[in-house]
Amino acid sequence: MAAASSTALPKKIDAQTADQYRTYLRQMLQIRRFEEKAGEAYSLGKIGGFCHLYIGQEAVAVGTLAALRHDDYLTCSYRDHGHALARGMSARAVMAELFGKAAGCTKGKGGSMHLFDASLGFLGGHGIVGGHIPLTTGIAFAIKYRGGDQVALCYFGEAAVNNGAFHEALNMAALWKLPAIYICENNRYGMGTALERASAIYDISERACSYDMANEVVDGQDVLAVRAAMDRACARARKENLPTLLEIRTYRFMGHSMSDPIHGHYRTKEEVDEQRKRDPITTWGDRLVAAGLIDEAGIKQVDAEVTAEAEDAVRFADEAPEPAPEELWADVYAPVGGN
């Protein structure tokens, strides 16, 4: 991990900032507890198919999405629960979707990999590695086409950058000067293949040089560093219509999916244990306590609240009705063709 020490908190923290910092903690904890419950429900057979947990990477979604406006857009890969929650989707809607229920955010049609909430500009978890990167370029194109100042965000793993779609999409975004921010969540493993075994260069950020695109390496376990880098990228997009590639270095504490053991053959238990020492939630909690912005009891209180929320989401999802049989045939085509 390149950035081992965290960015320092500001010397003087106003009340608004303090609230914001506590919100980061709450959001990260919310994702963590939600994912733990999702993993539990998966092992009970309540959730089917693929289920990719976000545990360990929470600071990336929380730090980046904190910088977004309501009218911005984002797409992400199939590891999308954390982004959905951090963007403000309700735990109930997301959990019900994992359960495949009618009350889910896509009515049980998409499942874990395809969370959507168009009202939040949350344009999908996407299941084909790299496939959604050009979509984000297209969304950024549409923003520019309409003369807007929104940004289009795209999350993908470090393994996707070896994919042609990544290069094609970044090339056009730089060529056409589009307000896109490409966020590579470098968790060091593409399923079971380590970065070093898949990429000819170690620093993903350097790939942006091919397209003369602004880029940064960011410590993904430090929510404050993530937020700061994201602010710079957003400014570049909104004011200059220029894209950015952020390589945010993080680590996934769980297996690739629920069918993958926590470390398997491709990494050691020691490595995972070592990484867990830089858990983005506990380190952030410690820093807030040290700065006097919260105490241990306060953290416990937040934890209890988000745990209750996750439990409520599971209960809600469990009791929610299955989709009606006719739902099978709905949404294949637009209800009325033409405009």
Binding site: Y73, T75, G104, C105, T106, K107, G108, K109, G110, H114, F116, D117, A118, L123, G124, H126, G127, I128, G131, H132, I133, P134, L135, T136, T137, G138, I139, A140, F141, A142, I143, K144, Y145, A152, G164, A165, H167, E168, A169, N171, M172, L175, A330, D331, V332, Y333, A334, V336, G337, G338, N339
Partner: protein, 325 residues
Amino acid sequence: MAVLTYRDALNQALREEMQRDPSVFLMGEEVGVYNGAYKVSRGLLEEFGPMRVVDTPITELGFAGVGVGAAMVGLRPIVEFMTWNFALLAIDQVVNSAAKMRYMSGGQVGCPIVFRGPGGAALQLASQHSQAFESWYAHIPGLKVVMPATPADAKGLLKSAIRDDDPVVFIEGEMLYNNKGEVPDGEHVVPLGKADVKREGGDVTIVCHSKTVAVALKAAELLATEGISAEVVDLRTIRPLDSGTILTSVGKTHRVVVAEEGWNFAGVGAQVVDLIQQEAFDELDAPVLRVTGADVPMPYNKFLERAAKADAPKVVEAVKKVMYV
């Protein structure tokens, strides 16, 4: 009514729709400065400027995805593939992104996009440039597949495709671009999903689309000299398939030949045959025969190429078989 080439009919449809709706834009390789590899987009860059007539790098997967992304947030992109052979590089975006978006988002995010360009063989372009892929796309729920055969249909169907709220695969024909025909001026819209009887007849139905419409009409003329009256049904839209028009014709003639440019295996004709055997079994007086491209990669040699293509003599031969003569 003006007599236009198929190419100019498409150009007219693009121009009229871009004038009509500012969210419509065209992107693809050589569509702007070059005026289009086949000149379909001639003059559009001057009229609409580079933001709406977008020259792309040779990056089919990339710009197909850009189109889908733009459509997801409400623009109406027309993505031109220089040919559908190159679109194989982009098929992930067509199949995994465009076709699935509405469904997997639970109806929240649509994808009003047109992918268009010439498909099928031209002359002596050999294996990689002479392929008919309509059955690939027609296989995919979520896509519509449109293939006009005449200038009038080219204009009317393209206008419908651009206005449609779903992704439309619009396959033209390089060998059709110079064909001339009467094209209604202005608001001429041909609805998707409606086949057209291009010639009426009573003895046998020839189902065809795109380039094989001319083949079928030629065959029908040859057959008429032998006293056989062939009805030519032009599908126009492959998906959704107009089963009503097909079945009505089968009910009338009881004998069917399906002609298409593509390969036989799992081709469009196979779907037509399946429809007929399910819905019109008792109407059949003969097995339904298919005339397709030869089951080989397209050869370069012109005689071999001719032998590989579906043509009027092959259709005539098949018709005689189903007529038992």
